[in-house]
């Protein structure tokens, strides 16, 4: 049995493990959060609490999903806004959770609609015993343009609201970013200037998941119509990793403390977010599909990964990949690595041939009689598409060739 310490300190708060519910339908009330804590989640970001004046009125139905072949939930679309319970109910739940689970981390997510409400909410959740505040500046399906991602794309407004929250509370605070921007850095910087201690990224991506082909309307259908709303799940992981990396590679933000969010469902996803600089991890979609129990394999798998890596403190893994992700113009372009086809493993399906011809450089040749592929090195540019389509992993990077006139040595190249 593997046993590793998964605890980590984020914004000065010690988490028993980095796995948290994100502020969403999965942490909507006391009972849900209690169950999540008991199953083993290290922290909960309680579903965003809004100002008393803002009436939450949800649609039905409110979800949709993207499938590919036999895989459902490749991506998930959600129309739900912030917590629909009354402010009093939410505050009562926060208080009760902190009392019963003093060793678990309780994060209050809040969303105001002006400086006053932000400050007031910050004060109220602090009084309830929350360990940390997350500012929701990024929900893409709010029915008010004074709230949600419309705010999160405006650096000035974000800064102002961060200052308001800081006036209301001395708790560590992270600002949750919207990915519905080309560059997250200006907003993140503005939040930090406004007093944010860290960043949570990313919230959901504005989307239309599917169109009903008969009714000619997006899904889900609400009385014959639909609306754009947030997209999450495995499909958004690459986008989330990219935003986190871009913040961490910005001068002055190299040590930015980040809570990573976006399609995490396995320990491998979790490790990837940690390696690009996340200290804690937030999960919703995987829970909506599979339940709180997903944390068991995330935790255990992460411990095994630490064991394999010879790491005793999770902290030691944070950001290890940052320095290895560099601008495309700085990559070594002096060599070509061509495929090595293992004919013992090859099952003679010819997929490499098809993809190389139709999507590559017509370098894989096909012996129709033997049903065997081979690589014509005169034509091969070393893109290795063939390796990606091979269903049995019979094609690996093979011989390295240095381009003519380049000084680089093949033996120095790290594949």
């Amino acid at each position: 049995m593997v046993k590793k310490d998964l605890s980590i300190t984020f914004l000065g708060v010690k988490f028993p493990n980095p796995f948290c519910l994100s502020s969403s339908p999965v942490g909507n009330c006391y009972d849900m959060c209690k169950k999540a804590y008991e199953v083993g989640w290290g922290g909960v970001v309680f579903k965003t609490i809004g100002p008393k004046s803002y009436f939450i009125d949800e649609v039905s139905p409110r979800f949709d999903k993207l499938n590919k072949e036999n895989t459902p939930f490749v991506g998930f679309k959600n129309m739900e806004q912030i917590a629909e319970h009354t402010l009093e109910e939410n505050l009562r739940d926060l208080r009760k959770l902190k009392e019963e689970f003093p060793d678990k981390v309780l994060i209050a997510s809040i969303m105001g609609n002006d400086e006053e409400t932000w400050e007031d909410l910050a004060r109220k959740v602090t009084e309830c015993g929350a360990d940390m505040i997350e500012m929701n500046l990024s929900c893409p399906q709010m029915t008010s343009h004074a709230m949600g991602s419309d705010v999160g794309t405006n650096p000035e407004l974000c800064k102002k609201y961060c200052q308001a929250v800081k006036r209301g509370s001395k708790l560590p605070m992270m600002a949750k970013m919207t990915p519905n921007v080309t560059d997250m850095v200006p907003v993140a910087k503005a939040c930090l200037e406004g007093g944010a201690d860290g960043i949570a990224a990313i919230n959901t991506i504005k989307s239309i998941c599917n169109i009903d082909l008969d009714k000619k309307v997006g899904l889900p259908i609400v009385d014959g119509k639909s609306a754009i709303s947030g997209y999450s799940g495995k499909a958004v992981k690459p986008v989330a990793l990219r935003f986190i990396q871009q913040m961490r590679q910005t001068e002055g933000l190299e040590n930015l403390e980040i809570s990573g969010i976006g399609g995490i469902e396995t320990w491998e996803d979790a490790a990837e977010f940690i390696l690009v600089g996340s200290k804690t991890l937030q999960v919703t979609t995987a829970i909506m599909q599979y339940g709180y129990r997903v944390v068991e394999d995330m935790k255990n798998g992460l411990m095994h990964y630490m064991e394999e890596q010879g790491v005793d403190h999770l902290e030691d893994l944070v950001g290890l990949a940052n320095k290895n992700i560099i601008p495309a113009e700085n990559l070594n372009r002096d060599y070509i690595v061509r495929p090595d086809i293992d004919l013992d493993k090859c099952i003679k399906c010819g997929r490499c041939y098809i993809s190389c011809y139709d999507g590559g450089h017509q370098a894989i040749e096909w012996n129709a009689e033997k049903r065997e592929p081979s690589c014509n090195t005169d034509k091969c540019v070393g893109c290795l598409l063939c390796g990606h389509v091979c269903p049995v992993g019979a094609i690996k990077p093979g011989k390295i060739t240095i381009k003519e006139g380049r000084k680089c040595k093949a033996s120095d190249i790290k594949l």
């Binding site: 072949e69 099952i347 399906c349 010819g350 997929r351 096909w366 049903r371």
Partner: protein, 409 residues
């Protein structure tokens, strides 16, 4: 009555068919598509399923095979399309038959009308028989612009398709296939015995060509069993059980002689109808078995006792003695019912053709001595097994040969 006889096994639904199609490697120059006697391209219709185009998949199957829904169920796929499947290099071949079954069921549910024909060429062909080869020939000739009439001696259309047990091939599937062909324009006549009440000459006078597809429809009798009141021929048994939808009572001890696909249908049917002890004695040894592996395995799973390599040497009432062909061994089996599944023969009296080893072979495919008369199906000399899909192949081919000869292009 035992409902197991009428219950077809589970097919795919839209989820499981997508899963199965996702297992397909979508090979280049796919081996499956080179192995179908009917010329179906599984690689094309599986790709359609994979990319959510069920209707396109149905078109690929149906334009090629008028009995697509039948073949999906009864084809010995392990000998053909699934044999070279590249997926076997990982685990097991794609279940092509079952995907085809899903697609043809979808076609039926969507009430698709796929067949297309060329403009009428003013010529007509009369087809004798309505088994698989005749049905396919009728469909293909109609596509080519011919007016086609089918003459069946039985009251029911379908020939040998009406013998295949319900759990493998439900009657309503056969009915639908025939309905589709009828709707396409083929005229069917039942209860017409060509060569007897209706002379062949009459048909020749009426049509520009006559195609004979009588099939191997009569069960063979072995002389030592002749006249024994415990003995029934396999085809007669299967036909009766199917006609009565399994509402047939069978005794507890049954002896079956024979080891082909028909024998496997008989022994499995007996088990499904509740016969306790079914003993199948087979001339061939397992290594040379003629039955499809799938059907043999099915029979073994049902608990049929199969003794391979034995020849019957003596019959006394309900007692049959066998001797092994290779080793020194004797067996005596006593049974309440004896079913002979030792092959079928064609009956072609009045059709003006000569058979050599059950086939017409005039050196060129599908012709007879009479230039106006053609043959297909079991009695045609062909490289394929005498299976449904083999019949489909000959039916399709003969249609093109007839068209080349009389199409007048």
């Amino acid at each position: 009555m035992d409902s197991k006889y009428v219950k077809e096994d589970m097919g795919f639904d839209s989820l499981t068919v997508t899963e199965e199609a996702s297992r397909c490697l979508l090979c280049h120059d796919a081996p499956c598509s080179k192995a179908c006697p009917a010329g179906t391209n599984p690689d094309k219709f599986i790709r359609s399923v994979r990319f959510r185009n069920f209707k396109g998949a149905a078109e690929t199957i149906r334009m090629n095979n008028a009995l697509g829904a039948v073949c999906a169920r009864v084809c010995p796929t392990e000998k053909y399309c699934q044999k070279g499947c590249s997926r076997s290099g990982i685990d097991r071949p794609i279940d092509i038959g079952r995907i085809q079954r899903f697609v043809t069921d979808f076609e039926e549910a969507a009430k698709m009308d796929i067949f297309e024909k060329k403009p009428a060429n003013g010529k007509s062909v009369g087809i004798v028989g309505s088994g698989p080869s005749a049905l396919q020939a009728a469909a293909t000739l109609t596509m080519l612009g011919y007016a086609v009439e089918v003459y069946e001696k039985e009251k029911e259309l379908g020939g040998m398709l009406r013998l295949i047990p319900e759990y493998r091939l439900p009657n309503h599937i056969v009915d639908k296939e025939i309905e589709r062909i009828e709707k396409f324009g083929v005229k069917f006549h039942t209860g017409v015995e060509v060569g007897h009440k209706m002379p062949l000459e009459e048909l020749k006078a009426k049509h520009d060509a006559v195609l004979l597809a009588p099939g191997y429809s009569y069960g063979k009798m072995l002389p030592m069993f002749d006249g024994n009141d415990k003995v029934v021929k396999a085809v007669d048994f299967l036909k009766e059980v199917k006609a009565k939808a399994g509402k047939v009572s069978v005794p507890n001890n049954v002896l079956v002689v024979g080891g082909g696909d028909v024998a496997m249908d008989v022994v499995s049917t007996l088990k499904l109808l509740g016969a306790e002890n079914v003993t199948d004695v087979v001339y061939e040894e397992f290594k040379e078995f003629r039955a499809s592996k799938k059907e043999l395995e099915g029979a073994q799973k049902l608990g049929v006792t199969i003794m391979d390599g034995y020849v019957p040497v003596k019959v006394e009432g309900n007692k049959v003695s066998f001797e092994h062909r290779v080793i020194k061994a004797k067996v005596e089996v006593e049974a309440d019912l004896i079913i002979l599944a030792v092959g079928q023969i064609p009956v072609v009296a009045g059709l003006g053709i000569d058979l050599v080893r059950g086939e017409v072979d005039e050196g060129r495919p599908y012709v007879t001595k009479d230039p106006k008369v053609w043959v297909c199906g079991d009695i045609a000399h062909s490289a394929y097994d005498k299976t449904v899909v083999g019949g489909v192949r000959t039916g399709k081919e003969v249609a093109f040969y007839i068209d080349a000869a009389i199409g007048g292009k």
